[in-house]
Amino acid sequence: MEELVPLSPYRSDRQYARLETYRRLGLADGTWAAEQFNLRVHVSQGGPEGAETRACQIWETVDRLPLQIKDLLRNVIDEVRLDSQESFPSDTLGSWRDGTMRINQDWSLIPALRDPGWHRDLGYDLLRATLAHETGHALVEDPRGGIRLRDAVALIAASGWLPHPLDDAVPYGPVGRQVSTLSAYYLKRLREVDSSWDGELSLGSPALPSSAQLDRDVMRDVRASTRHRTKARGSLGLQGSEQLLRRLRHADPGRLVRDLADCGLVLEDVDAALRRRRGISFYAEDAVSETPAEIFRCIHVPYTRAEHSRPALLEGERVLLEPWRTADRAIGARRPALTPERPWESLQLVRRGVGRELGR
């Protein structure tokens, strides 16, 4: 029987007024963010030269985001902070944690962006990609909803995460041919590592271990700072397909073929399994907990799109988009956007003939 798709709680029933409308009325961008997206806005004082321009660019980027991301900003993110470079790890563009999104307000200090040879639109593209990716985290891990662990594991399975074939040959056999059977296998093994990994619970549920623990329990390589406890608990030892291909390429071919034969595998089958599904980006291979957010980003903001990662995109459509689209269909057409809340300003809107634009 086909599983019913749950309705996303994050789908808004209203359209969003344009930033330009607020600016035309002389209202601050922060007012637009507060009224349209329920966002508290904090801008660090004493920002560097150009910080105000950066803030404007951020809101202009938000204005042009796809609807689902706008809905998430409204319903999952509570606060946007434009903070100084010093408060971030090096080269960081933006971050997310517990309903707060922080954007670095001075990208000019990021060494990698000082190269005058980069395309002039790169800053905008990166900002858009950052907002989409961090919103993806918020969707996936929000304690008020989020996605089920088993759906997160399906996204991981669809993105080419595999164990080394000499460590675990099972995913290279029939189990690995379908995302559904592979993710069921990964989930079973995950529960063997820690029985509190309940596939039916939302990834952000307090009853589940943390997403950092997901990295430790699933990945072969985790950062040194988060490695403690990993191996004592056991691990699925998964690697991104690019990393794994790189390791296999460095192996001695003759010995690899012999070792694989001892496990009942042939090189062609391993190669086929590795190429069946591939990582969606380098970012998605940094950590398994980054994979769902990066799939969400790739669906909405294809900064670079790899053709070989189609299975990940299809699974992302099912897990990340379908509940939102189902709500879209169930709720029906959106009501007009809210106009600026001040009566005098609303009157000015009508007088200036922009009421039609706002649906009034």
Binding site: F88, P89, D91, A112, R223, P253, L267, F282
Partner: protein
């Protein structure tokens, strides 16, 4: 000897126009296309990656620069080049091609 990462660039209709592998990148195929592809294989590329504050658990997006020869640099450069030149990029299997 280790297995090299090899790529094939195809024109519409499946005609092989170039193959690229190793570092420094070796290119074989139609000379004019090889020259144009080589032009794209000179510089570093920017990609996005994660940052994580282990103390607060705050996740972030940071820039990563792939210098020529770094893992993933050739695939990224070729993917962008293929997109620009309207070619289809395939990676050849481990067992050869």
């Amino acid at each position: 000897m280790a297995m090299e990462q090899r790529f094939r660039l195809l024109a519409s209709g499946g005609r092989v126009v170039a193959e690229a592998w190793g570092f420094p990148v070796q290119l074989t195929g139609e000379p004019e296309l090889c020259r144009r592809i080589r032009d794209h294989l000179q510089s570093s590329v920017v990609v996005l990656g994660q940052s994580l504050d282990p103390h607060t658990g705050e996740r972030g997006t940071r820039l990563r620069i792939l210098e020529p020869g770094a893992p993933g640099w050739l695939a990224t450069c070729l993917a962008r080049t293929a997109q620009e030149l309207g070619l289809h990029l395939t990676e050849l299997p481990l067992s050869g091609g």
